[in-house]
Symmetry: C2
Subunit: 187 residues, 2 copies
C-alpha cells in the first residue's frame, strides 16, 4: 500500500493544468449560459490578478472594478443589463476612473481602451480556468451606479457576466482574414 501511495498524485495537483496561452487566446469564445456552480474565492483572485496586469496608458490605472456574486444582487444587476442572457454566478462591472484622466479627451479614450484590455485579460483567465464570460456594452449605467453605490467619477463601460458554461461555446463567424489585415500598406 505504501508503494501505491507513493504513486498517487498529491491532492494539490488535482486541478487540471492551465492550457498554454496561445491555445487559450485561440479557443476563447463568448459564453452566455451558465450553470449554478459558484465561482470560488481562489478563482476570483486569479481573475482579478489578470485584470490588474493589463497595460495602462501613462500608467494612470484610471480604472475601477466591482465584483458581484451575491445571487439577489446579480439578479438585480442583470435586470439593468439587457445584453446579459443567461444567469451568471458572477458579474464584473468595469469602470473608467475619470478623476485620474482630468479633462484630457485623448487620455479618457486611452483609459477606456485600457479597461477593455483589462477585461480581455479577465476573459482569457476565465477561459483558462474553465469559466465562460461575455463582455456586454448594452446596459443602463445610472441604475447600476445606484444599485452598487458607484460614485460619479467612475463611469461603467463594460459589464461582464461570468460563470461555468452550461454548454460548449460556439465560435462566432468571422470575416476573412484578407479583408481585415494588410501587409506594409493598406493599398
Amino acid at each position: 500500500m505504501r508503494g501505491m501511495a507513493d504513486n498517487t498524485l498529491p491532492v494539490t495537483a488535482s486541478a487540471p493544468p492551465v492550457p498554454d496561452a496561445l491555445e487559450v487566446i485561440r479557443t476563447r469564445s463568448v459564453v452566455r449560459d451558465y450553470t449554478a456552480e459558484p465561482v470560488d474565492d481562489a478563482a476570483v483572485d486569479t481573475l482579478l490578478e489578470a485584470l490588474l496586469a493589463a497595460p495602462s496608458a501613462s500608467n494612470k490605472q484610471a480604472w475601477a472594478f466591482v465584483v458581484v456574486r451575491q445571487r439577489a444582487r446579480v439578479r438585480r444587476l442583470r435586470a439593468f443589463a439587457p445584453g446579459v442572457i443567461g444567469t451568471p454566478t458572477l458579474m464584473l462591472v468595469a469602470c473608467v476612473d475619470q478623476s485620474r484622466v482630468g479633462g484630457d479627451p485623448n487620455l479618457a479614450g486611452a483609459a477606456r481602451m485600457c479597461v477593455a484590455m483589462a477585461v480581455q485579460n479577465f476573459l482569457l483567465a476565465a477561459h483558462a480556468l474553465g469559466l465562460g464570460a461575455c463582455p456586454v456594452h448594452s446596459f443602463l449605467p445610472d441604475p447600476i451606479r445606484l444599485l452598487l453605490g458607484i460614485p460619479g467619477h467612475l463611469k461603467p463601460v463594460l459589464v461582464v457576466p461570468t460563470g461555468y458554461p452550461a454548454r460548449d461555446a460556439q465560435p462566432s463567424d468571422r470575416r476573412d482574414k484578407d479583408e481585415v489585415i494588410r501587409y506594409e500598406t493598406y493599398r
Copy 2:
C-alpha cells in the same frame, strides 16, 4: 548510441514550450527597446490569429490592422509616433472600421474597445513567443494614414511597436488592489 538517440527530443520539439495562459497574463509588461532580430512570418501569423480571436460587439468586427516590417517604412512610421521609443522590427497599426458601425456612437465606442481587446491578445501572444511590445496612443493619425494609404473610414486608434526585447522588461508600479477593486458594492 541508439539508446542515447532514443532519449533525444525530436528537432520539431526544439522551440521552447509556450507558457501557460495565467503566467503569460501575469508576466507581460511593456517592452520599449528591441533587438535588430526580425519577426518571422510564422510569428506574424500567430500574432494575427490572436488579434482576430478577440471578442467583437454584435460581431461587427469593425476593425482593420496593418502590419509593417520593412525597415524604411517602420522608420517613417516611427517618426509620426513620438510615443515609440526604441526601434521596433514590426509595427502594428490598429484601426476602427467606422463604415461598419454606422452613425451609432455606442457601437463606435464598443468597436474601439474591441480593437483594444484584439491588441491585448496580440500583446499576450507576442509575450508568449518571447517578443515584447507596447501599445501607443500618442501618434499623428493623418501622416500615418497618408504613409500607409489607410482610407478615410478606418480610424487608427493604437500603434504597437513590437520586437525581441533588448533587455528584461520591468513591471510597472501598480496602485494597491484594494484601491481599484470592490466586492458586491462600491461603498
